[in-house]
Point group: C2
Chain length 235, copies 2
DNA sequence: GAAAAGATGTGATTAATATCACATTTTAGA
DNA sequence: TCTAAAATGTGATATTAATCACATCTTTTC
């Protein structure tokens, strides 16, 4: 029965293994959790959840990236998080069975492992140490949200863009020679929706930052950071 | 020794008792925690912590209200939270000993109960259920931050003000006849710094909302909501 | 209770981004 | 590979809140 504990989607690993919050579990428990998981796939652009949907499962990203966003009064998207492999959405507080307070959409083809709320609650009750792990993750999210708020309330839009680029560097920057290469999973419009400006504005500002030599735009999905110090000065 | 377990600041109660995260503790443990607490007082306007200060204690508010904020690049305050009795600041994740990522200032005379990080860690290790309680509180804060982000990215400033007033109604609205009375702990400037506009702008918008009959301004610290439905329509 | 300090209101002006319109480039699909 | 659709760039203009300046009101302090 060695086969059974493997997850067909997650490249023959325990998919729960990818999630740091489950890292405190022993192999046996990990297998048990993995067996409870139901897999789902989403094509790029597909909606994973709508605000208001009942949130009775935990969604753990096993492959791909998603954007989590709310709509403003004007109908504009405001992105809250970009989540990738190992991240999760869904209600983590015990007993509460509420609804999603945001929308989530696949930025690329995405595989998700889902765990029923009841099953998760049981795992949590039997392994309260998991709550401490969750706290770490949640603490990190809070700090990101606080930073985003600080950025959104800055009137200087180049500063907001610089913050965004610096966070991209942290999350998926690749160092190549003297430069840092960013393969951005977001369209220009998404980037604009992350820092609360219009597509046209971010387009113009990125161009001017290129003219100043701080960055280099390479197609629509790649930005090369030529001068990270300049970015830091802008923030 | 009945006297000793009382907290001199917190009106002769276990001060830890006020904090919902400690509600899972038995009386004996509650006493132990209370004995570990050191009390501090702050006058209105005093700074409780600066961004970057080492955060080696948990600060539990026992009386008064505080504002938690960051500075934008331009030096403008951006308020993140208004916290009151029972709320806390400080690092809740086990083992981590980091620094405050924000500033906090007393909005009125404030009494705080502080618990050393080591002591808190011990309590947490012996009572992992507390982590679940913390998760609830932290979940609530995340939702508030997400809502604030949604509000800040809305260009319609009356909508932002309406959101702010609606959250005030939830937090400290008093129903009187057909109206809701808000005794606001914030100055106009603080309110402006909460929703990311200037003092002048919020002053003008509040006046126009008064002209429309939605609210009534009574001095600087009191706003009477004449028509809550109007506010909801604005958001 | 008076004076000073601080907070708020308000008009005039400026500055910057949103908006609109459309050209151009890139991507995806047959 | 070609074509259609989608995404992006860019100019002109409108709009709106920021800024500046100062009057007025409120609160604090002696």
């Amino acid at each position: 029965m060695e086969e059974k504990k493997n997850c067909p989607v997650c490249e023959n690993k325990y998919c729960a293994n990818k999630v740091s919050i489950f890292s405190v579990l022993e192999d046996k428990e990990l297998k048990e959790v993995t067996d409870l998981i139901i897999h789902k796939k989403y094509k790029k652009g597909q909606i994973i959840c709508f605000e208001g949907d009942v949130s009775d499962r935990l969604y753990i990203i096993s492959r791909g990236k998603i954007k989590v966003f709310k709509y403003t009064k004007e109908g504009k998207e405001q992105i809250l998080y970009i989540l990738s492999e190992g991240d999760f959405i869904g209600d983590l507080s015990l007993l509460k069975r509420s609804s999603f307070k945001f929308n989530a959409e696949a930025l690329e083809d995405v595989a998700v492992c889902t765990l029923g709320k009841n099953d998760f609650d049981n795992v949590l009750k039997e392994n309260p140490e998991i709550a401490l792990k969750i706290l770490e993750v949640v603490h990190d999210r809070i700090m990101r949200l606080e930073d985003l708020i600080q950025s959104l309330s800055t009137n200087d839009i180049e500063a907001r863009i610089a913050s965004l680029l610096l966070s991209f560097i942290k999350d998926f920057g690749i160092v190549e020679e003297d430069n840092i290469v960013l393969n951005i999973p977001l369209s220009r419009e998404d980037m604009a929706n992350y820092i609360g400006v219009t597509r046209e504005t971010i387009s113009r500002k990125l161009s001017s930052m290129q003219d100043e030599g701080t960055i280099e735009l390479s197609g629509n999905k790649k930005i090369i950071i030529k001068n990270k110090e300049n970015l830091k000065l802008l923030v």
